[in-house]
C-alpha cells in the first residue's frame, strides 16, 4: 500500500473505501486459496506419493536391472528389446489379454445390455430379477472363481455331471488350454451386474415419446431398438465398453486363482505367490499375471517396470479416449434425474 502523501490527501475520502474493499477482497481470495489447499491436501499428498512418484519411477526403473537387493543398474533399452524379441511369454500374455478384450468384453457388454432390455420391458418382479442379476457382481472374485472351478471341474462338477447325463461331450474347462479362457469368460458374464444396472438406468431414461412416435411411424420392436434405444443411450454404451476394456487390461485375480486352484497341486505355504501361473499351458497367463510373475515371483523389478510402462501406454491411450469424450458422459448438466 504505497501511496504518495499527495494522492492520499487528494483522494482520501474517495479511495479509502475502495482500498479497504480491495484489501478485503485480496484477503478473501487468500483465505479461499487456503481453504482449497486444506481440502485438497489429502489428495495432493496421496497423488504425489502413490501415483505421480511411482509413475515416474516406473519409467526410470524400466531402463534398469534391479533385484531390490543391489541398487538399480542402467541398461538402456535392453528390457524392452528382451520383452518383444526374446521372451516368448510376452506375446502369449499379450495374445491372451487381447483374446479377453476382443471376445469376453464385447460379450459382457452385449449380455448386460440384453438383460437390461429384458428387465426394462418386464412388468412383474423387476426388483427380484435385478437383485439376482446384480448380486454375483459383488461376490468376492476369489470366492466366485473357486465356485466356478468347482462347478466346472471334470471329475465331480455338477455341470459335467449334467452334460454327461444328457450325453453331451463335456470339456475339461479349467484343465484344458482351449477351454480355460471360455470358462473364465462364463465367469465374467456371471459378474456383469454393474454394467447391467447402468444400462438399465439408461434404458429406463429414454423418453417415452420417442418410442411412441416411432411406433406411430410403424417401427417394430427391433427397429425401435435399432433407431431409438441404441442411439439414445450410445454414450452409456461407449462408457461401458471402454470401462470393460480397462478392466480387461487389468484382469488378474480370476486368472490367478483359477490357475492355482485348477491345478490343485499341494503347494507349500511359502510358495503361495508363485504357484502355477498361467495353468494350463500358459492359457491363463494374462498380461498382468506376467507382470506379477516377473516383479513379485522373480523380483526382476526393472523388467517388470518395462512391462508396466507398456501397459501404462496402452491404458493411457484408452483412457484418453474416455476423458476426451468425458464431456458427453461425465457432466449431468445440473440434474441427476
Amino acid at each position: 500500500m504505497s501511496l504518495t502523501p499527495a494522492a492520499r490527501a487528494g483522494a482520501a475520502t474517495a479511495v479509502a473505501p475502495a482500498l479497504d474493499r480491495r484489501r478485503a477482497k485480496r484477503h478473501a481470495a487468500w483465505r479461499r486459496r487456503r481453504l482449497v489447499l486444506l481440502l485438497m491436501s489429502p489428495w495432493i499428498v496421496g497423488f504425489s506419493a502413490f501415483f505421480g512418484y511411482p509413475l515416474v519411477m516406473s519409467v526410470y526403473l524400466s531402463f534398469t536391472r534391479y533385484d531390490l537387493l543391489s541398487p538399480p543398474q542402467w541398461i538402456g533399452l535392453r528390457n524392452y528389446r528382451y520383452m518383444f524379441n526374446l521372451d516368448p511369454q510376452t506375446w502369449t500374455a499379450i495374445k491372451n489379454t487381447l483374446w479377453f478384450i476382443g471376445i469376453a468384453v464385447p460379450l459382457q457388454v452385449l449380455f448386460a445390455f440384453g438383460i437390461a432390455l429384458m428387465l426394462a420391458r418386464a412388468r412383474r418382479g423387476v426388483g427380484v430379477f435385478r437383485t439376482i442379476f446384480y448380486l454375483p457382481a459383488i461376490a468376492p472374485p476369489v470366492a466366485a472363481t473357486l465356485g466356478f472351478v468347482y462347478i466346472l471341474n471334470p471329475a465331480t462338477g455338477p455341470v459335467n455331471t449334467i452334460l454327461g447325463h444328457l450325453g453331451i461331450p463335456s470339456p475339461l474347462w479349467f484343465q484344458d488350454p482351449h477351454w480355460a479362457k471360455p470358462a473364465l469368460t462364463m465367469l465374467s458374464l456371471w459378474s456383469v451386474g454393474n454394467i447391467m444396472v447402468i444400462f438399465l438406468a439408461a434404458v429406463l431414461d429414454v423418453p417415452r415419446q420417442l418410442y411412441e412416435s416411432a411406433e406411430l411411424d410403424g417401427a417394430g420392436p427391433l427397429r425401435r431398438l435399432r433407431y431409438v434405444t441404441v442411439p439414445t443411450i450410445s454414450p452409456v454404451i461407449l462408457f461401458a465398453l471402454i470401462f470393460s476394456v480397462i478392466l480387461g487390461l487389468q484382469y488378474f485375480t480370476q486368472a490367478f486363482v483359477a490357475a492355482s486352484v485348477g491345478q490343485g497341486q499341494a503347494t507349500q505355504a511359502a510358495d503361495v505367490t508363485s504357484a502355477n501361473l498361467g495353468y494350463p499351458l500358459d492359457s491363463t497367463l494374462f498380461y498382468p499375471v506376467l507382470l506379477y510373475k516377473h516383479g513379485f515371483v522373480d523380483f526382476q523389478m526393472g523388467y517388470a517396470s518395462a512391462l508396466a510402462v507398456v501397459l501404462l501406454t496402452v491404458s493411457f491411450a484408452v483412457t484418453l479416449v474416455i476423458v476426451l469424450n468425458s464431456r458427453r458422459w461425465v457432466h449431468y448438466g445440473g440434474a441427476l434425474r
Binding site: M40, V45, A122, L146, A275, A308
Partner: protein
C-alpha cells in the same frame, strides 16, 4: 411373472385384440427369457451351497443332492483353517481403509465440485486418469518404496494410501456434490456459515446417501481385494486376509470340495447380507458412477 396381472393391465389399455394378443405373447416370451437367465445366474450359488452341505464321500461322488445334510461343515471350516485370523486381518484392512477413504475423499470431492479455483479442471482430469489406469502400472515402485520402509509383510501398504484420497470415491462423491442445488448452500452462506462449517453440516447431511455408497463400495472393494494383499502379505500366512486364505484353502489343507465350498459360501455371505441391508445405496451408487446420456 403372473399372467393375470399382465392381462388386466392390457385390458385397461383397450388396444385392439390382435395387438393385445401380440403384446401378451411378447411379454410372456420376455418373462420366460428372464426366468431362464435368472435360473442360470442362481445355479452356481445353488450348486455351491449344495456341495457345502455334503459329506466328504458325497463330495467325491458326482451326486448333486446332499444326503444327509452335513451342517457341521461350516464348523469344521473354522477348525481346519485359521479362519478367525483371516477374518480379523480382513476387518483390519476393510474397516481402517473405509474410514480413511470417507474422511479423506469428502473434502477433496467438495473442493472439486463446489469451489471455484484455477486448476480445478486439471485436478479432476487427473483424478479420472488415476481412476482408469490399472493398479499394476504403479505397483513396482510402490513395492520398492514400502520395502524400503520395512512395511512389506504387513497390511499397512494397502491401508495407508486409502487415508490420502481414493480416486473412485472422489469421483463418485464429486458427481453427487455437483447435483446439490446452489440455493441450499447460498442460504447457509447468507446466514454467515463458513465454507468448512457448510461442508461439515449442510453438505454432509445432504450427501448422506452418496457417502453411504462410497463407504459400502470401499468396504466391499477391500473385503474382496486380492491383488494388493497378495503382494504385500502373500508370504506371511499369519497376515493373510480371507481372499488369500480362501484361494489357498484347498491345496493347503488337503480337503475335499465340500469344505472348500463351505468356506466359499462363508466368504460370500457377508457381502450378500450387506447387499440386502443396503440395497438402495448400492444400486443408487452404481447408477451414479454410470453416466447420463
Amino acid at each position: 411373472m403372473s399372467g393375470v396381472g399382465i392381462t388386466t393391465e392390457l385390458v385397461r389399455r383397450r388396444a385392439p385384440a390382435p395387438v393385445r394378443r401380440r403384446k401378451f405373447l411378447i411379454a410372456v416370451a420376455n418373462h420366460s427369457l428372464l426366468i431362464a437367465a435368472a435360473i442360470a445366474f442362481l445355479a452356481p450359488i445353488v450348486f455351491i451351497a449344495l456341495t457345502a452341505l455334503m459329506t466328504n464321500n458325497q463330495a467325491l461322488s458326482s451326486r448333486l443332492w446332499p444326503h444327509p445334510f452335513a451342517w457341521h461343515n461350516f464348523v469344521t471350516v473354522f477348525t481346519t483353517a485359521p479362519m478367525w485370523r483371516w477374518i480379523l486381518n480382513t476387518l483390519q484392512y476393510s474397516v481402517l481403509a473405509t474410514i480413511g477413504v470417507v474422511l479423506s475423499s469428502v473434502p477433496v470431492a467438495y473442493a472439486l465440485a463446489r469451489l471455484r479455483w484455477r486448476g480445478r479442471q486439471v485436478a479432476f482430469m487427473i483424478v479420472l486418469i488415476a481412476l482408469m489406469l490399472p493398479p499394476q502400472v504403479t505397483v513396482v515402485p510402490l513395492y520398492v518404496m514400502w520395502s524400503k520402509l520395512h512395511l512389506v509383510g504387513t497390511l499397512w501398504p494397502v491401508i495407508i494410501p486409502n487415508w490420502l484420497g481414493d480416486a473412485f470415491s472422489i469421483f463418485l462423491l464429486r458427481q453427487f456434490f455437483v447435483t446439490i442445488p446452489e440455493e441450499y448452500l447460498d442460504a447457509a452462506r447468507v446466514d454467515g456459515c463458513g465454507e468448512l462449517r457448510l461442508l461439515g453440516t449442510v453438505v454432509l447431511r445432504l450427501a448422506k446417501p452418496a457417502i453411504a455408497a462410497v463407504a459400502l463400495f470401499s468396504f466391499l472393494y477391500t473385503f474382496n481385494d486380492f491383488f494388493l494383499p497378495l503382494l504385500y502379505v502373500g508370504t506371511q500366512p499369519h497376515r493373510w486376509v480371507l481372499s488369500i486364505g480362501l484361494s489357498e484353502f484347498r491345496s493347503l489343507h488337503q480337503v475335499e470340495w465340500n469344505l472348500t465350498m463351505a468356506a466359499t459360501l462363508l466368504m460370500m455371505a457377508p457381502v450378500i447380507v450387506l447387499f440386502f441391508l443396503a440395497q438402495r445405496a448400492f444400486v443408487e451408487g452404481v447408477t451414479l458412477t454410470g453416466v447420463k446420456g
